[in-house]
């Protein structure tokens, strides 16, 4: 497809489990972002990749969260020992390079931790 693709669209897991969320950005976009949107809030920045490297991971809430983008395209957000407070919609976005204009968002992965 032409847009940003995120899988799974919905994930329900139990407290303490490990979760992986995948993002396939628009082809050719070098910049990739993860945001998290909690109920009633706007998206909050988690991490920014330029190519393969994480240029800014200052938004990751703690060391249970980690993201990779090994080949500069697909990215995976990994959450260890999930907690109920991790429940949110995780949004991935890409852009051609840096932020000269808008971000292109995927539909998000809704994570529910029971």
């Amino acid at each position: 497809g032409a847009g940003v693709s995120q899988t799974p669209s919905n994930k329900v897991t139990e407290k303490g489990k490990y979760v992986e969320l995948r993002c396939d950005p628009i082809s050719g976009h070098t910049a990739l972002y993860w945001y998290r949107q909690s109920l009633g809030q706007g998206p909050e920045f988690l991490i920014y990749f330029q190519g393969t490297g994480a240029a800014d991971d200052s938004g990751l809430p703690n060391d249970r969260f980690f993201a990779v983008r090994p080949e500069g395209s697909v990215s995976t957000l990994k959450i260890q020992r999930t907690e109920r407070g991790d429940s949110a919609v995780y949004l991935c976005a890409s852009s051609p390079g840096g932020l000269t204009g808008e971000l292109f968002f995927g539909e998000g992965s809704r994570l529910t931790v029971l």
Binding site: G42, F45, D56, A93, G98, G101, L103
Partner: protein, 111 residues
């Protein structure tokens, strides 16, 4: 600490009338502002933007106004249409790549 604030969680407007959405920010280093629109179960989509060197940008039915001295921007939609019913997020750019978002305003356009 919320650097971008949308103090009105919801707005209801009659079809054909003007919708005015407001946004305030605290960080004077923000140099670029954007509005995103979001339908249920979809990701936000870019709507319109404005650079800090301008005070107005217009695109069809959508106009964004920026008042730097007041750290305030607004989005005007005129005339409002049923398809405009959505959540609107104000966002501000810092560090060349990071966006800070407001909490959103849900717009309902009544027929």
């Amino acid at each position: 600490d919320q650097q971008v604030k949308q103090n009105s969680p919801s707005l209801s407007v009659q079809e054909g009338r003007i919708s005015i959405l407001n946004c305030d920010y605290t960080n004077s280093m923000f140099d670029y502002f954007l509005w995103y629109k979001k339908y249920p179960a979809e990701g936000p989509t870019f709507l319109i933007s404005i650079s800090s060197i301008k005070d107005k940008n217009e695109d069809g039915r959508f106009t964004v106004f920026l008042n730097k001295s007041a750290k305030h921007l607004s989005l005007h939609i005129v005339p409002s249409q049923p398809g405009d019913s959505a959540v609107y997020f104000c966002a501000a750019k810092e560090d060349d790549y990071k966006l800070s978002f407001g909490a959103g305003t849900t717009v309902t356009v009544r027929a």
